[in-house]
């Protein structure tokens, strides 16, 4: 993927618009006023951010539990079976955020279903289908949940990246 080269306006929007998006009738005009630019320029900048794949969507981030019941889970998968097991897990429509991680518990995913019973049924069937040890780690308390993320635009950050 080509590295992104963002305009000052695009960076400013990522700084101020990850949370607190205006609930005014013309939210992009409200943002434009804050940044001293036009509504059209803000709309064009968001379109560009989406085209470049930097912003997925602009919208509400729902709390876990706002819609149904979800649970983080992990499987300890023999490496030779990883692709097949990942496909089996991913085939369940209730599964999202399926990640491979470099750890003996190497497959991590979130199951979200309409209620706890449905969620547990999906986890039960994944355990049965794979025949593997399954960790069920529902959230007990959240301290800081996806409230946006401060992006470091400094040149030193880019230098670190180049050295990686």
């Amino acid at each position: 993927m080509a590295p992104v080269d963002l305009s000052p306006l695009e960076k400013s929007l990522l700084d101020i618009a990850q949370r607190g998006f205006p609930l005014s009738p013309r939210p992009y005009a409200t943002l434009a006023r804050q940044l001293g630019t036009t509504e059209d320029a803000v709309l064009a900048a968001f379109r560009s951010l989406q085209t470049q794949g930097v912003v997925g969507r602009i919208g509400a981030v729902w709390a876990q539990g706002a819609v149904g019941s979800s649970c983080l889970a992990a499987l300890k998968v023999p490496p030779a079976r990883l692709d097949a097991v990942a496909a089996c897990v991913g085939a369940h429509p209730e599964v999202n955020h399926n990640y491979e991680r470099d750890h003996p518990w190497n497959l991590w995913f979130v199951v979200a279903a309409r209620d706890e019973a449905a969620r547990e049924a999906v986890l039960d069937s994944i355990a049965a289908e794979t025949g593997l040890p399954l960790l069920r780690l529902p959230m007990e308390h959240g301290h800081h949940l996806d409230l946006g993320f401060a992006i470091d635009w400094s040149p030193s950050a880019a230098i670190k990246e180049n050295r990686a």
Partner: protein, 168 residues
């Protein structure tokens, strides 16, 4: 649908793919649902206030911005201190999510989870070291699990609707 009949489920379904990139996105959603624009914004405001919506805004793809070293740090912390320390870890600027989860006897002993983001593993390892220092003598053990592949990433979906693809 009249304003009084606007359900949370209908609003979630109408907005889960994101707000339209047009000058009046809430009016457009209201038209789709057959309710007034203020019914849409009032309900979103109420769901923000009661915590069902964490935030409304642009959802960035951190990977695309160079944050390629994303680690799930997991910590075994003394039970009587984990609430306070979890709150402190959650305040660190490089932590995007911080959760408490249960132990699973014999299988899993880590209860505090903090998602940490960096532009290199060295940077993310340094962030993890900062968490380790903050946890101090309440810490029994910790690890960092890097994601090596994203196999599936979708937004929350409601029954009967197509998955909402997020870039990953």
């Amino acid at each position: 649908m009249t304003d009084a009949h606007l359900t949370d489920q209908a609003l979630i379904a109408a907005t889960e793919g994101g707000l339209p990139l047009t000058a009046t996105p809430y009016a457009e959603i209201a038209t789709r649902l057959g309710v007034s624009e203020t019914a849409v914004t009032d309900r979103l405001r109420a769901m923000l206030a009661d915590g069902r919506i964490r935030r409304i805004g642009a959802v960035p793809n951190h990977y695309r911005l160079g944050y390629t070293a994303n680690g799930m740090t997991v910590w075994d912390v003394a039970d009587d201190r984990v609430m306070d320390l979890g709150a402190a870890v959650g305040q660190l600027p490089f932590v995007s999510h911080c959760y408490l989860r249960p132990r699973v006897p014999g299988l899993w002993s880590y209860t505090l989870f903090a998602m940490v983001h960096g532009r290199s593993r060295a940077e993310t390892d340094a962030h993890a070291a900062a968490i380790r220092a903050l946890l101090g003598d309440a810490l029994r053990a910790g690890e960092i699990l890097y994601s090596t592949r994203v196999l599936k990433k979708t937004g929350i979906r409601t029954a009967g609707r197509q998955p909402v693809k997020e870039t990953s």
